[in-house]
């Protein structure tokens, strides 16, 4: 497979995997229809992310991206964490195949959504950038829902049966 050793190592032994109880914020991004779903949980103290875990349904690149972002963020301030961009994740992973770049983007999205969730729950100030990103992700989520509404409806019907 065309993955770096780093990616494969993280896939084999992901760090900070699992659900977090008593989290302060959670970011839920992606869609199972499209192939990847990432949930990031954060615990915050004095504006520092003191703990972070993930749960991911996804391919090798998605699982490795989830793991690396938790390592990159743990112990950093919210302000610092928000400075992380896609290329930082890609560098840490020693790259991803072109068709998997979106997995690194997904990990950034999940992180920003988790921070957004924490800030809004605690009535803290949300930057214009974070608010705009949140609105964009909401819009994308709704678009996927509309595009696949027949499938989603079918799923719901199945649950009701």
């Amino acid at each position: 497979m065309a993955y770096s050793k780093k990616v494969l190592d993280l896939f084999r032994k992901p760090k900070n995997a699992g659900k977090m109880k008593d989290y302060d914020g959670v970011g839920k991004v992606g869609n199972p229809v499209c192939g990847d779903v990432m949930w990031l949980y954060i615990k915050v103290k004095d504006d520092v992310i003191i703990d972070i875990t993930f749960e991911t349904f996804g391919c090798i690149a998605a699982l490795a991206s989830s793991s690396i972002i938790t390592d990159m963020v743990k112990g950093r301030s919210i302000e610092d964490a928000l400075k992380i961009v896609k290329d930082d994740v890609l560098n840490e992973l020693d790259g991803l195949p072109p068709v998997k770049i979106h997995c690194s983007v997904l990990s950034i999205d999940a992180l920003q959504e988790a921070i957004y969730d924490y800030l809004s729950k605690n009535k803290k100030e949300i930057s214009e950038f974070l608010e705009r990103r949140h609105q964009e992700l909401e819009k994308e989520r709704k678009e996927v829902e509309v595009k696949y509404k027949d499938w989603i409806q079918k799923e719901e019907d199945l649950h009701e049966e």
Partner: protein
């Protein structure tokens, strides 16, 4: 030692096939069109292979044209039938579960003035609605014989009865040597049956109106030009007549499916007709993650999912049998061969159990 369970993708060369090929890669390298002995030897070897394949298909040797593989055979059959019979009509019927080398040919023909109907299949994977789709402009029906993802075998005899005088083409790359095949045009290849890659054939029933598609020096009875790939043709012929141990493979599959019952919450998708294909959906886990984990343990299988290639489109065949896109992303395919053993299956099931547990533990669902 690795465990190879992706035989629907390609197969290991049978030692007998390799032995038959080697002289034609070494001392018997002549061009089959040449009139001296070295050429005549090559020509003779080609005709012997043609006969072996024709006998396996229960047809005449003159009806077999060698090509570079399944993809070329499908391209040749569909494009050439379309253009050679344009005066009769411009309508082609195929299905939503075809290989890309049929679907994409049909999509291209739509840009060339042809109209294509893509038939649905029922929940068991069998084609439906053919009779209703036929019009007085229909010139070709192309339907896959044995399905590469979920193993359904279409009833070609019944389909041909419905077609009447309309030509029936079938992509039989997965079913050749495993089931009898009946159609006016049949695509087959060698590397799915323990032969070499890069060689296939198209059976064209005598009397079918079809022109050559690849023009040149007039090889293959003026139907497909290009210097013959003699070693590969010899390998193909041999691979058609070796023992395929179809019943053994079917036993292995039944054993495998039985062992899979040990794993919680997985579903087998059809996988009944073809002896070597097992499709399964493993909810809550993405297919590539399973394939990658198995690879680390030396086990080769395939995804049926979006992530299995450079395309992120969900697999259309799996959608057609009623899986939803999420299930498609959680689907893997295991395809067996006569070289697999029960011991390999035991190991695979054990590893699968561990991997599924690990990946489900970190899945949000």
């Amino acid at each position: 030692m690795s465990i190879y369970l992706d035989n629907g993708s390609t197969t290991k060369i049978d030692p007998k096939v390799l032995r038959a090929m080697l002289p034609f890669l070494k001392e018997k390298y002549g061009n089959a069109s040449a009139i001296y002995k070295l050429g005549a030897e090559a020509k003779e070897a080609i005709e012997k292979s043609r006969k072996q394949i024709a006998e396996k298909l229960n047809v005449n040797s003159e009806e077999i044209i060698f090509t570079s593989g399944g993809t070329e055979s499908n391209n040749f059959a569909i494009k050439s039938i379309a253009f050679s019979n344009r005066d009769k009509g411009n309508h082609i019927i195929t299905t939503k579960i075809e290989h890309k080398s049929v679907i994409n040919v049909c999509k291209w023909l739509e840009t060339q003035g042809f109209e294509v109907t893509y038939l649905d299949v029922d929940e068991n994977g069998y084609v439906k609605g053919l009779e209703e789709a036929i019009t007085d402009k229909t010139i070709l029906v192309s339907i896959i014989h044995g399905h590469n993802e979920f193993g359904t075998i279409q009833n070609l005899e019944e389909i041909k009865n419905i077609c009447g005088n309309i030509y029936l083409h079938t992509d039989a790359c997965q079913s050749f040597t495993k089931f009898p095949i009946m159609a006016d045009l049949i695509s087959i290849n060698a590397h799915k049956i323990h032969g070499p890659k890069g060689i296939g054939a198209l059976y064209i029933k005598k009397g079918v109106r079809i022109d050559e598609w690849q023009h040149g020096g007039g090889h293959e009875n003026r139907m497909r030009s290009g210097t013959e790939n003699v070693p590969a043709i010899v390998g193909f012929g041999t691979s058609a007549i070796i023992d395929h141990r179809v019943e053994y493979i079917r036993e292995l599959k039944d054993y495998f499916i039985n062992q899979l019952n040990k794993i919680d919450n997985i579903r087998i998708n059809l996988s009944k007709d073809l002896p070597h294909v097992i499709s399964m959906t493993i909810p809550k886990i993405e297919g590539e993650a399973i394939v990658g984990s198995l690879d680390m343990e030396g086990i080769c299988i395939a995804t049926g999912s979006a992530c299995n290639s450079n395309s992120l489109e969900p697999n259309q065949s799996l959608l057609a049998i009623g899986l939803n896109p999420q299930e498609v992303n959680s689907t893997i395919r295991i395809t067996l061969s006569k070289f697999n053993t029960k011991k390999e299956i035991d190991k695979t099931v054990k590893v699968l159990q561990e991997i599924i547990k690990k990946l489900r533990d970190i899945s949000p669902f």
